[in-house]
Symmetry: C2
């Protein structure tokens, strides 16, 4: 119990955010009391509006306020190339490289029977329906390099290949700028598997 | 620019909180979109209510929703003993020890001419007025062990001693469980000054 039930409620509400423990929640609460009223009101409004206005793009399931997300609306994107990612934030990572000019499809998760996430929760039927009518020539599966992400990639390859579309997986190996000394054995094994001949 | 201006606004609003940089703000934003509507509404309401309802105790300037804070309302507290702290959160630290049964006075800062914080900003006149009518026999100054906190402690001692009230400063030295090897020179110097004879 803090000095008032209102403050207790704020600490509890902040603790539900990821990475915010009891100490940080308390520190934030004390800080919020010293902030301008208008700044706190902006934060409260931004929270509510994000939940109210932001939805999934009807085509790629990226986040958007409109029916189609900015990437799906962009006529200059290559619509023969599709990249499948687990989360909207993964799109930001790929866009930052400036190397990909195709479109995306967001699963909002990976196959995980334990969590009740099957193909229909990930909207894979919607994806397959789009592939049947589309002109896509290659699908890059960029799910995470872990058990769920790999299983999802194999499942996607299985259901997409009968449609005569090339399915590729992003490359795994040592991170650029990394040091062999600090590589874990799984990454090192993948790096060996992914070896390429050096052009002479 | 994220996928929607609403999300950009939420990232910006979260970044105004202390210790939350651009990456954390982005991570929180994506997480907030996956939270239940009701949980986000509770957080927004808790933010607004904390600003609207929480004020300063008219006696000790601790945080409270009523005129008097829970500590000032508690008849069992020793009203001959007063502890002066910089911030409401410092009260929590002292209460946790279970060693102090007196009352508090919160300065909401320390003397700092550069920041425009003088005695009247810290409501020291209100404190002196209370001391004149009260029955306090000892004041423990628990401001922070730094330049501003020490200057504030000396100033308080100066203005309170003419009222024939004992003024003490909390002890400084090595933290319990600490190791001499890692003590900085200022802490070590204070620990030497604060040495006591060992009872034989």
């Amino acid at each position: 119990m803090l000095f008032s039930p209102t403050l207790d409620r704020l600490v509890e509400a902040l603790r539900r955010l990821p990475g915010i423990g009891p100490k940080t929640a308390l520190r934030l609460t004390f800080h919020i009391l010293t902030m301008e009223d208008s700044t706190v009101e902006e934060l409260a409004r931004a929270l509510l509006e994000a939940k109210q206005k932001v939805k999934h793009c009807t085509r790629c399931r990226n986040l958007t306020e409109d029916d189609l997300c900015p990437i799906c609306r962009d006529e200059r994107r290559d619509s023969t190339l599709l990249c499948i990612v687990q989360e909207p934030r993964d799109i930001l990572v790929i866009e930052k490289t400036g190397q990909f000019r195709g479109r995306y499809f967001v699963l909002h998760g990976a196959l995980s029977p334990l969590e009740g996430l099957g193909p229909s929760e990930l909207k894979i039927p919607l994806l397959l329906q789009q592939l049947k009518t589309g002109k896509i020539r290659e699908i890059i599966v960029a799910t995470n390099p872990n058990v769920e992400g790999d299983a999802t990639a194999f499942y996607l390859a299985d259901v997409i290949k009968p449609l005569n579309i090339k399915v590729t997986r992003i490359g795994f190996g040592l991170p650029v700028g990394g040091d062999l000394e600090y590589a874990d054995e799984l990454t090192m094994a993948r790096a060996l598997e992914a070896r390429r001949e050096i052009d002479g």
